[in-house]
């Protein structure tokens, strides 16, 4: 067993503060930087959702201070419809790109993938550093949209053309704000391409002695598969963003057809196709859903056996399913476009792989539930969030059945049913994965334990809270409640307003509960009890080194791996019920 005596490599000492903590090439510092960025982003995104939810419940009631913060968007504290849509667009963009992609994939992946494979760092440390700073630049460009001209864009995170492409005539926020959006996402694509290449190269080339692919920890398998997905997906979104920018600033017409009259003005464009944008965007967009959720799959599959004290059921099946999902994820994008005006024959074609993808997803879910069977379950904050992940993933996954079928999508498309579906399956589930990962790895990352009491309160209130927010959205969808409405003026929506108010109260409450997490995070970082090297009795390599790991991860000698990551519930050395991957044979 490579045990933890820190042999800090000499060069770690000589680095300046700036080189060590800011412009560091150490994957652990970069991973933490990604997580810090995601934390800033998620707080921003959550505050935006509070404002939106409040507006949906009580559209005419002024919000204190908002009038001062946004004198144009919310004069006197009463939000305008365009300001609502601007907040919605920024909420979606920030959450999908800078939280759900950044935290579970780039953040945890950066920190733990090299340690999991037994490497000292990523394959290309400088490119790794660059990908973080490029991501930060993308975030700053996006946030800058709040401060320009008539504000951020209002075309949603999907930025459907021609609304996103024709410029100011299409309404407030469609000026420089929308251009900044497209630039920001383009920059983000570059960062992800760099990051994904690094993940792939590191996984394939830097595995330590004995670390065969079959012995890779499940989180690392998921990050690897995610990197492959991201590499292809972002490589399509990048040119799409470039074409969108050209349409906006150079007068091209990739996405704008001729004969459009916007605000009584005939637009000087012809020959473009709005459906082209949708195809390009969703060719990225659906795989992106898996970029957000597959790391969660990996994190949960790694955490559950630790706290169940037994191996993950069917590890090879799990990996096969991950790969199957990755392949299928490229064949299903058209299910976002059943009603888009594309050839209706293709709807059936896209529907079948969409439904087929539920098979590997269902198998993985059964593996998790089967892993809990017969366990010696230790319920900690981390394992509670992992079990909560399974519950919310089931809830979100099953509503996919309705949306995968063109015939039922006719009714449910564009309603709150869709909002409920993707918030459960990629929002809440991915967040639960992030929370589970945080409670699990915090001791390793910072050398201190988090408060379990606060962690459990955080879990229970969040778990109940998210169901109160998102389960009723299915009911709204069934009643035909259209999404992306800033207020409900239609006659048939009036009876649904009390349900919206319930959701708003639940959302404000659940949002406030996250302050417990934030407090726990900060307090534990400063004065949490010291963490042992392997507090959870886990097998993977990060638990063989000190908490936090030294600069080169293993104190000068690379571990040799003799076991898989799944050796739980076995007769291990020294009366333990597990065998560490780096244990001597």
């Amino acid at each position: 067993m490579t045990h933890t005596t820190a042999h800090p490599p000499a060069h770690a000492q000589r680095q300046s503060f700036l080189r060590k903590h800011v412009f560091s090439v150490d994957h652990k510092v970069i991973g933490r930087q990604y997580l810090d960025l995601a934390l800033v982003a998620v707080v921003t995104g959550m505050v935006l959702s509070w404002l939106m939810r409040f507006h949906l419940g009580w559209p005419d009631t002024p919000v204190p201070l908002l009038g001062k913060l946004a004198p144009t968007g919310a004069a006197g504290g009463v939000m305008t419809p365009e300001y609502y849509l601007e907040l919605m667009t920024m909420h979606g963009t920030i959450m999908v790109f800078f939280v759900l992609t950044t935290a579970p994939f780039a953040g945890f992946g950066n920190y733990f993938l090299p340690i999991h494979v037994g490497a000292e760092d990523m394959a290309f440390p400088r490119i790794n550093m660059m990908s973080f700073w490029v991501t930060l630049l993308a975030f700053l460009v996006l946030v800058a949209a709040f401060f320009v001209g008539d504000g951020p864009p209002l075309s949603g995170w999907t930025a459907y053309a021609p609304l996103s492409a024709v410029g100011k005539d299409a309404g407030p926020g469609q000026g420089s704000g929308q251009t900044l959006w497209a630039i920001s996402i383009g920059i983000f694509c570059i960062a992800q391409l760099l990051g994904s290449l690094n993940f792939i190269a590191t996984t394939l080339d830097l595995r330590t002695k004995g670390m065969s692919l079959a012995r890779l920890p499940y989180a690392t398998w998921a990050w690897f598969v995610t990197a492959v997905i991201a590499l292809v997906a972002f490589a399509v979104l990048l040119p799409a963003c470039i074409l969108l920018i050209l349409d906006r600033v150079a007068g091209t017409s990739f996405f704008i057809p001729g004969g459009l009259v916007i605000s009584d003005r005939l637009q000087p464009h012809m020959g473009g196709s709005p459906l082209l944008w949708q195809h390009l965007f969703w060719f990225f967009g659906h795989p992106e859903v898996y970029v957000a959720i597959l790391p969660g799959f990996g994190i949960i599959s790694q955490i559950l056996p630790v706290f169940a004290r037994k191996p993950l059921l069917g590890p090879r099946v799990f990996i096969a399913c991950l790969v199957a999902i990755a392949f299928l994820s490229y064949t299903v994008w058209g299910h976002h476009m059943f009603l888009s005006g594309m050839n209706p024959f293709s709807a059936t074609l896209f529907s079948v792989p969409t439904l087929v993808i539920t098979i590997p997803a269902a198998i993985i879910t059964l593996l998790w539930i089967g892993t809990v069977y017969g366990a010696r379950l230790r319920l900690t904050s981390a394992s509670l969030f992992a079990l909560g992940f399974v519950s919310v993933f089931v809830s979100g996954g099953i509503s996919g059945f309705f949306l995968a079928q063109p015939s039922t999508d006719i009714y449910l498309h564009g309603t709150y049913f869709v909002v409920a579906h993707f918030h459960f399956v990629m929002g809440v589930a991915a967040m639960f994965g992030i929370f589970a990962g945080t409670y699990f790895w915090f001791p390793k990352m910072f050398g201190r334990m988090m408060s379990e009491t606060l962690g459990k309160w955080h879990f229970w209130l969040t778990f109940i809270g998210v169901y109160c927010i998102f389960m009723p959205m299915h009911y709204l969808g069934l009643a035909g409640n259209v999404r992306r409405y800033s207020a409900f003026t239609d006659d048939y929506l009036q009876p649904l307003i009390p349900l919206h108010r319930f959701i708003t109260i639940a959302a404000l409450f659940t949002g406030a509960v996250q302050l417990i997490f934030l407090f726990n995070l900060i307090r534990s970082r400063l004065r949490g009890p010291k963490a042992a090297d392997n507090p959870w009795e886990a097998t993977t390599l990060e638990w063989s080194t000190s908490s936090p790991p030294p600069h080169d991860n293993f104190g000068g000698r690379r571990p040799t791996v003799a076991y898989g990551p799944n050796e739980y519930g076995v007769a291990g050395p020294a009366g333990r019920d597990y065998v560490m991957q780096a244990a001597a044979q």
């Binding site: 559209p59 005419d60 009631t61 002024p62 144009t72 004069a75 006197g76 009463v78 939000m79 305008t80 419809p81 365009e82 300001y83 008539d150 100011k168 309404g171 407030p172 605000s263 009584d264 003005r265 207020a487 003026t489």
Partner: protein, 238 residues
């Protein structure tokens, strides 16, 4: 479209005034008259407000379009008549122009104002409107004004005839006539107007209508007199 914007060309940019204009000039000449049309004007079309039931109930008799409002004796309403040349400069007006959105209509249909004159826009309806002045010379803007939001206070920097629309209620249509002169009037339902307080001088008086185009006359004012100026615009049915 062409007619609407050709009016811009007719506008003459005036040198900035050196003597401040007194708010209520007691003496001076007056130009008054009437605007009529020849030809066939378009029929006033009933406006279908059915998407906004609030507004339907506010109008017991259906409202019709106001882009060409004609009256007895071929009179034309909503014609802006103003001094296009010969003005001796003016200080900015300080009284506020009030513009209303009520019953899904702009009231008045045409509001004339001076450059930099304060303009306040109210939403008197129990629902949201958006005000979208389709300005080309001035800075274009597009803002919603939900129920409960404060009035929008603004002003225009350059002379321009600015078409106004509400995207939420596409039938809502009005005009801001932003002029550099302090001497302007909008014809009433009988097509009549009156420009008063004019110091002696030679003036170009222009009448502008959003569909019937513009026409100018030369009028010389010698003292405290009233000079007539009648305009006959050409109407087309479509």
């Amino acid at each position: 479209m062409i007619a609407r914007f050709s009016a811009l060309v007719a506008l003459v940019a005036l040198a900035s005034g050196t003597t401040p204009r007194e708010p209520h000039r007691p003496a001076g000449g007056t130009i008054s008259g009437k605007v009529t049309f020849t030809g066939t004007p378009p029929k006033a079309k009933p406006i279908d407000m059915s998407k906004e039931p609030n507004c339907v109930t506010q109008h017991p008799t259906p409202v019709t379009t106001e882009d060409a409002v004609t009256g007895p004796g071929n009179s034309v309403r909503y014609v802006v008549v103003y001094i296009a040349a010969g003005d001796q400069g003016a200080a900015p007006a300080t009284d506020t122009v009030r513009y209303d959105q009520k019953g899904c209509q702009y009231i008045p249909h045409v509001a004339a104002m001076q450059v930099h004159q304060p303009l306040t826009i109210y939403n008197d309806d129990p629902h949201s409107h958006n005000i979208h002045p389709l300005a080309r010379v001035n800075a274009e803007w597009n803002k919603s004004q939900p129920k409960g939001a404060p009035p929008i206070r603004t002003a225009w920097d350059e002379p321009e005839f600015i078409a106004l629309k509400c995207n939420v209620h596409p039938w809502m249509h009005g005009y801001f006539a932003v002029l550099s002169t302090p001497h302007f009037a909008v014809t009433d339902s009988s097509g009549a107007f009156s420009l008063s307080g004019l110091p002696p001088g030679k003036y170009t008086v222009t009448a502008w209508h959003e569909r019937f185009g513009t026409q100018s006359l030369e009028v010389t004012i010698a003292g405290s007199e009233t000079k007539p100026a009648n305009f006959v615009l050409t109407a087309r049915p479509y």
